[in-house]
Structures are given as structure tokens and as C-alpha cells.
Symmetry: C4
Subunit: 222 residues, 4 copies
């Protein structure tokens, strides 16, 4: 009894800390949208805002991706009741890469608004930025897989009451996560906007289906 | 019993995450006030601070609006005890637009302090900025309506003990929210300062009346 | 019973939100220290770091002041168990001014490192910045007084078990808070460094004595 | 009983506030990586990203160090159940220096990417930055020692159930912390990259061994 309570408390503080990092990382994204230059030689504000549509799209995608990641974190921590040293480190790495999303977002936003650069150099930079951006998502998906497999293998860190079918369902879903992001990565070679739109579709798809349900959840919960 | 506890826990973590985003979004606003330029050719600091009064007003308005939004969130989450997938997404969109307030605040602040630009261009930019700023508030009010109607329709996600009269009162209040902000939006076409002052009046009004009270709250709570 | 629990929950979320804003406001201070310019024509890094000592002092003072304010908030919320609409607004104003400290901190830091400006203009700007900085602390101390007097008058929002002697002790302490900061404000007219040092002494003094103790606390707690 | 509950609540709010500051400080690090300049005369983005590898390493080190510090905080607060005035201040100083890590990280990152400066001046600035960076870690380790010794001496603030052998183990580990960081500090005089790599090795080492285990923990917990 005493053991259980101390375990729950520890996971609780880890969840609270993780939630804090997620909340800050997702909120800092807004600082990555460049504020238009309103000095004399720049175009008027309305024109500049109109030219920034791709940056707004990147903001939307980044926000949705981190939000979906938070929901995932939420779901698997309902099953995980214990922690150990390696799990703390893996979770720390995950938080680091989630936070890191702000950097490729900033790089991508800057590349999308640059205009006084020769066209081919601009294209090269924008594709570089989009690959960095999508590559970050692949790394996140891989770390999620490692984290979850470490926690769930032989039910190492799972709660005794964690539903085995639900665990299996998450296993299956996670297997495909990196492949999704790899597809968007490859598309970024061809089209920056295309890969942003694909990422948005993924985020919406994950948002609506990502909440793993055990086939017998109704039996379990009602 | 077990079902109720697990539901409450889930809403709890959603509230804590939302509170975190609200707290960060409201605190980042201070970074959007431009720090005066103290180099040789700029006016002295006192003059510059005096010229920034409209920016301080915009900061005050932004802070009050997000604060009122947080109080609203607080109120409706006292009635909401369950979540589902679509509700998580709607709440995520709400948080995104709350966070986004920092961007139009930064754009407005910059447009208000620019001075080396021809007068008509400056006016155009300031009105553009004020419309973006007020437009963001309209979007927030609309998403709040959608979120609340989704949760309260047929008491979908409400607690069993949620007072029907209180639910009805909130329904009525929310119906007018977007209209208030639309009025400030229209006023921004005529006067940037006027729309800021109107927004401040709204925030003060909502702050003092926004806490929905059921007509029979006294009976319920005492 | 049901009434008490719902009251506690509400204060709990208000405290958590306030803690979040305090934590963010105190952490953002670090962003206000200007990063040295390492380009060709600037002095070397070591020289620049040495010249920034007053900025580090301002950082230390700002951090200590917000920390002391957080401890105060902590103390009075142990006595306050209920909220009402006006109290939410006063607490919101308090959080706004706590957050605002970042702005005068940034202005002061910039004025302290400027060097290519004529000496008398520089002096004028530095004193202006120090007065803005100290003026903010006076406003914080006044809002704390209003907040506490509103909550404690006729024990309006206090817990039934709040010790009357402790309430009286806090009343006395708060009465002098604005005077302390007014002294530092006046000193800033004469000496910028002097007022920073005085603020630091106040923060250390408050830190060691600020935790109000009821004369009969020993009887109450042991 | 009443005494115990009020004590735990107080430590709880202190932990939550500390967690908030840790979470924000660790997340702000990402803002310290300079976003590449994509204007006409700069090298292309891929080249610039490649040249920034040392900055990414510094980001990784900073993140890992703060994460390890958070885990340490977590561990000792499981043993600490009471607070007093001096402990609050020591904890506040600790949080201040944790937050401060962002500043030397920003200075180091800027010194690492500068290139239009004469070689010997560049070397001098980079070593200065690395010493500031490592010096901050020494200060953190010293404050941790002071904080822990204050709390654990004569079990001043420890829980009655805190395992004496675990307390002793932490005592031993903390004694060496400052020496580790002093070694990295000295190495920074010779090699900036070398000291970064050594810091990373320390962080990984602490991450895997830092979770103090009492020799009889198995007996205690199972």
C-alpha cells in the first residue's frame, strides 16, 4: 500500500513537470512568427501579413503536432504507474525534442519570408528548413516508440490494471508513427507547402483517431 | 465509482495543461512591448516612454482579455466533468488562439511606435494592426461558443450535478460575446484608440458580470 | 461540507494559476539581460561582462523581489479560502504588475550598458529607468495592500480558522511596504546603484522577516 | 495530524513552484540558439546549420544538466517535509542560478558562431564564454550542497521516515558534485569542445547513477 502511493506520487510529479514543458514549448511557438518590419522601405502591413500565410500554416501545424504529442503522453501515462532511471532519461529526451520544435519552426518561418535572395538559393534554403522541420518530427516519433516499448515490454512500468488489449492497440499505432512523418519528410524534398499540408492532415487524423481505444473498452469502463 | 474517478482525473490534467498555457500566454505579453532604443539619435527615454502610452494600453487590454478568458474557462470547467476526442481538439484550438494574441499584440505595438513613415501609410498600418488584433478576439469568442455548446448540448460532457439554470445563463451570455468583439472590430476602422478603450470597457464589464450566477445559486450553495 | 470543498477547489486553481504566472515572470527575467555583442568593433567578452555588473545586480534584485512577493502570496493564501469577482480582478492586476517587472528590468539593463551617448543624456536616461523600475515596486506594494485589505476586512474571504493575531500582524507589516519602496524610489533620484543596493537590502530583510508569525503561533501549531 | 497536513501542503506548493521554474528554464534554452541569417551575403542555410554543431552540443548539455538538477531536486524533496525561512531563500537562490544557465548558454552560442573576428580575439571570447558557462554549474553544485546540508543537518527539515542510510548516500554524492564541475571548468581553459563533451559525460553519468539508492532500499520499499 505504502509502495503504491509513493509510486503514484512520483509519476505524478513527472507528469506535472512534463505537462509544464509541453505547455511552455507549445506557447513559445508564437514567438517564432517574425513580426513584420514596418519601416519606410518595407511593403505595407497588410501586404506583409498576406505574404506570411505559409508561416501561419507552419504555426498551426507545429501547434497541432505538439498538442497531439501531449495527448499521446497523457494516454500512455494513464497506463504507466512506475518510473525508473532510464525511463526518466528517455522522457527527458522526449521533452527536449518537443521543445526543440521551436527552432526548426523559427528557421522555417524565416526562410519562408526572405525575399531579397536569388530564387535558387531561396528554394534551397526553404527545402533545407522543411527537411529539418520534418526530420524533428521523425525523431520525436522514434523516441516515443522507444519510450513506450521500454515501459510496456513485459509490462515493466505499467499499472497492474492496464488493459492488455489497449497496450496492444497502442503498440500497433506507434509502429506506424515514424512512417507517417517519413512520408512528409520525403514530400518536403519536392514541395515545402505540400509537406506542411500533409503534416496538418496527419495531425487532424491523429487527433481524431489517436486516442487509443481498447476493443473492449466499453466493457472495461462501464 | 471507478469510472467517476478516472473521468475527474482526466479533466484535471486537461485543466492543469490549459492553465499552464493561459499562464504562459498572459505572461509572454510583456515581451511584446518594444524596449526603447537608447542610442544617440533617439529621443531621451522619458520622451519615448511617454510616446508609448498606447502600447501600455494595448498591454493592459490584452492582459485583461486573457484573464477574463481564463475565468470563463474556469467557470465552464466546473460544470464539465468528461472529455472526448473532439472536445480535446476544440480546447486545443482555443488555447492556440489565446496564445496567438501575443502576435497581434506585437504587431499593434510596433505599428503604434513607428514614426519615420509617411502619415497615410502609418494610419493604414495601424488600422490593419487594430483589425487583426480585434479579429483575433472575435475568433476566440466564437471558439468559446462552439466549445461550450458542444459540451453542454444534451448535457453531453456536463457533470450530473450541473445546475440547469446556470447552464442556461451561460448559454445566454455566450451568445452575445462575439457581438461585443465585432463592435470593437468595427470601431477599429474609425479609431484605433477608440477600439482599445472599448475593449478595456468590455473586459472590465465582463470581469464584473462574467461570473455566471444561477438565479437560485444562493439556494444551491448555502 | 460540500460547500467547503467546492470553495477550496476554486482557491486551489487560482493559486495554481498565480503560481504559474509568478514562476514564468521570474524566469523570463533572464531574457532581459542583453547578450554581449561579439562583433569586430566591440570590446572583448571579458571586458563587456565586467561592465555589466550593474545589470547582474538588477537581475538579482528583480529575482529577489518577485520571490519575496511569491512568498507573501503564499502566506496570505493560506488564510484566504474563498474568492469573489472583485478579488479575482485584484489578484489579476497584481499578477499583471508582477509580470510587468520584466519591462522596467529590460529598460534599466539597456540604459546601464549604453555607452556611446553623451554623459548627461546617459545620466538622465539611467535615472528615468531606475525611477520606472522602483515605481513598479511601489505599485505592486499598493496592490498587495488593497488585495489583502479587501480579503481580510471583516474576515470577508478568510478561512474560519485564520488566526486573528496573524491577520493583525500581516496588516501591520503591509502598512509599511509601500513606504520602503518609496524610499528606494526617492534614492533613485540621487543614485541608481544606491537604489538597487537598497532594494536588495529590503528583499533580504523581507526574506528573513516577511514570514509573518502570530505571537501565539507556537501554541497554534504545536 | 493537523500539523503534518499543513507542512505537507506547504512543501507541495514550494515543489510545484520550483517545478514550474525548472520547466520554464529548461524550455527557454531553445530560444538561446541563434536562428541563422538567411540574407543575401550569408552562406546558405545548410552550411550554417552544419557550422552550428557546437551550439547544438551546448544545448544538449544545458538541457541534460538542468534535467539532472531537476531529478536531484525531486529526490531530496521526497525526504524534506518541512520548510523554514532560510530554506525558502536557499531554494530561491538555487532556482535563480538554474534559470541563469540560459544566459551563459546564449553567450556561449553567440561566441561559437561568430566568424568575422580575428582568430585570437575569437579564441579569447570563446574560452571566456566557456568559463562563464562552467562556472555557473559550479555555483549550482555548491548551492545544492548548502541547501541539502542545511535541510539534513540534525535532520532539521527531513521527514521522520527519511531513511538515514539514504541521507548518508546523498551526503557522499553531493560532496563530489562541485569537483566534477571544477574539472570541466579547468578543461575549458584548454579546450571549449573538450569541456562541453566532459559536461555531457557527467550529465549522462549522473543521469544513470544520480538516483541515490539506500543500500537497504529493497528492504524499505518492498
Amino acid at each position: 500500500m505504502s509502495e503504491n502511493r509513493s509510486e503514484e506520487k512520483e509519476t505524478g510529479r513527472l507528469e506535472a513537470f512534463s505537462d509544464g514543458v509541453f505547455a511552455i514549448a507549445i506557447t513559445l511557438l508564437i514567438l517564432q512568427i517574425p513580426v513584420p518590419d514596418l519601416t519606410k522601405n518595407a511593403p505595407d502591413l497588410l501586404t506583409q501579413l498576406g505574404n506570411q500565410w505559409a508561416t501561419y500554416l507552419a504555426y498551426l501545424v507545429s501547434f497541432m503536432v505538439i498538442l497531439v504529442m501531449w495527448v499521446n503522453h497523457h494516454i500512455i501515462f494513464r497506463l504507466i504507474h512506475r518510473t525508473d532511471q532510464l525511463f526518466l532519461i528517455l522522457n527527458g529526451l522526449l521533452l527536449m525534442v518537443i521543445t526543440f520544435v521551436n527552432y526548426p519552426m523559427a528557421v522555417l518561418a524565416r526562410s519562408l519570408q526572405e525575399s531579397k535572395v536569388p530564387e535558387d538559393r531561396l528554394m534551397f534554403d526553404q527545402h533545407t528548413a522543411a527537411l529539418l522541420y520534418n526530420g524533428t518530427f521523425i525523431v520525436i516519433a522514434i523516441i516515443y516508440n522507444v519510450l513506450w516499448r521500454y515501459a510496456s515490454r513485459n509490462r515493466r512500468l505499467l499499472s497492474k490494471s492496464a488493459d492488455p488489449l489497449l497496450v496492444e492497440t497502442i503498440n500497433k499505432q506507434y509502429r506506424f508513427g515514424p512512417l507517417f512523418y517519413a512520408a512528409a519528410f520525403l514530400l518536403a524534398i519536392l514541395s515545402v507547402w505540400g509537406s506542411l499540408v500533409l503534416n496538418l492532415l496527419f495531425a487532424v487524423y491523429f487527433a481524431f483517431t489517436g486516442r487509443a481505444k481498447s476493443p473492449n473498452e466499453k466493457l472495461v469502463e462501464h
